[in-house]
Amino acid sequence: MIALTGVVLAGCGAGTTPVPRTYDSARALIESVAGHSGTGSGPGAPVHYRDTGFGALVYNPGTPNAFTAYVTATRDVTVQPSSAASVRVISAGTPEFGTATDRAHWQAAGRPALDSGLATGQVMADPAGQFSFLPQVKALTYQQAAALPTTPAGVLAVVRADSTSSPDVAPPATLLLRQFGFLLAIAPLSPAGRSAAWRALLLVPGVRLCGTATDLAGRTGQGLCADGDGYEVEMLVDPAAGAMLEVRKSLTQRSVMYPGAAPGKVVEVDTFLPG
């Protein structure tokens, strides 16, 4: 693990003078945040949050006419204890090409219509039991999130099991980091469960400190990263608030999936704000 040094401003409530604080390892950052009471919803109450960011529309991946467009959207989400949810699209932008190469490939592909499927004002509903606080693989409902174990190993076991379709296949660190990012940002965790979830990150091989960054809402945080095959997943943390701010995916090398995109290009972002 490579230890990087980042500097953040740590403050504790009104009237407190922010104090610069340095983290020299992922462990130091995680331990600091795990001791914080956090800002998420506790069990029992509906969960409200706003998710703003963008995702990629990848057309004809792997072919000579591959191209990518990006669509920005903001959603207000309310999740009931039954895991029924209401998703209201506050804004949905027009898909935009990342590079001139994308536009050229789109033209070569016959100029297909670009549509993210989202429209401003659109309201979508998940029936009871359907909303998942983990974005990928198996669902984690409200009640399951609220009842997560209170030990790091216990939380990791649940998230790992929910992150693979086969017990013989270990989920990659990038997937686990994304899952934990959403869990810590929006799930109705108990204080003990939240602390355990933060510390569970210490048990994920390959999670490293990756410096200071600013999220789409302009908030500064400290990054925890994991490397995938040609991409990186980063979770941006506000140590002062004990909050998970953003999960993003960026390229670490050129990819035929994202023609023209240079390494470092961010291809997917979810920024979480209180509802």
Binding site: D51, G53, F54, G55, A56, L57, V58, Y59, N60, P61, G62, T63, N65, A66, A73, R75, V77, A85, V87, A109, G110, P112, A113, D115, S116, G117, L118, M124, A125, D126, P127, Q130, F131, S132, P135, Q136, V137, K138, A139, T164, S165, S166, L175, F182, D229, G230, Y231, K249, S255, V256, M257, Y258, V267, E268, V269, D270
Partner: protein, 159 residues
Amino acid sequence: MRSIRLPRRVTVLVAAGFLTLGAVVGLNAGTASAAPVTNPSCPLKNFCMWQDANFGKNFNTTHYFYDYNNVVHNQWVFVGNNANDQASSFYANKAFTTDIGKDFIDAHTAPNQWACVLGGHSRPDLSNERWPDGSGMNDTISSIFLWESSGQGGCPEVF
């Protein structure tokens, strides 16, 4: 494990009008028993996959669109590095059948686990679906095969 050679498929010509009708009718048929569906956005004649369940409507997910006019037909195609083992929902907004494979061996060898998706059909949450051998389907799709016809002859499993 032994590779399976695909049977030769018979091409069926389908009128353009039926193409559109099939997509619309099939969407409902394909999702009748599954979780909520809210108009997955998938261009006509495309096979679409989403990194997240429910066609990516809840989060800013990545969409993967495979256009019949731009992806080679009648052979297995690797879905691409960033799409490999990522899909949690799919929708075939096309009349012709699409195969999905758990692995990618080569263009002319079927994966050890594969299934057929009929035109217009979709699945919003692959954590509820399984390959013919019973293994979970979520985050496991590695290859697709675009038929030049509709139908399901020889399919070990049909969606």
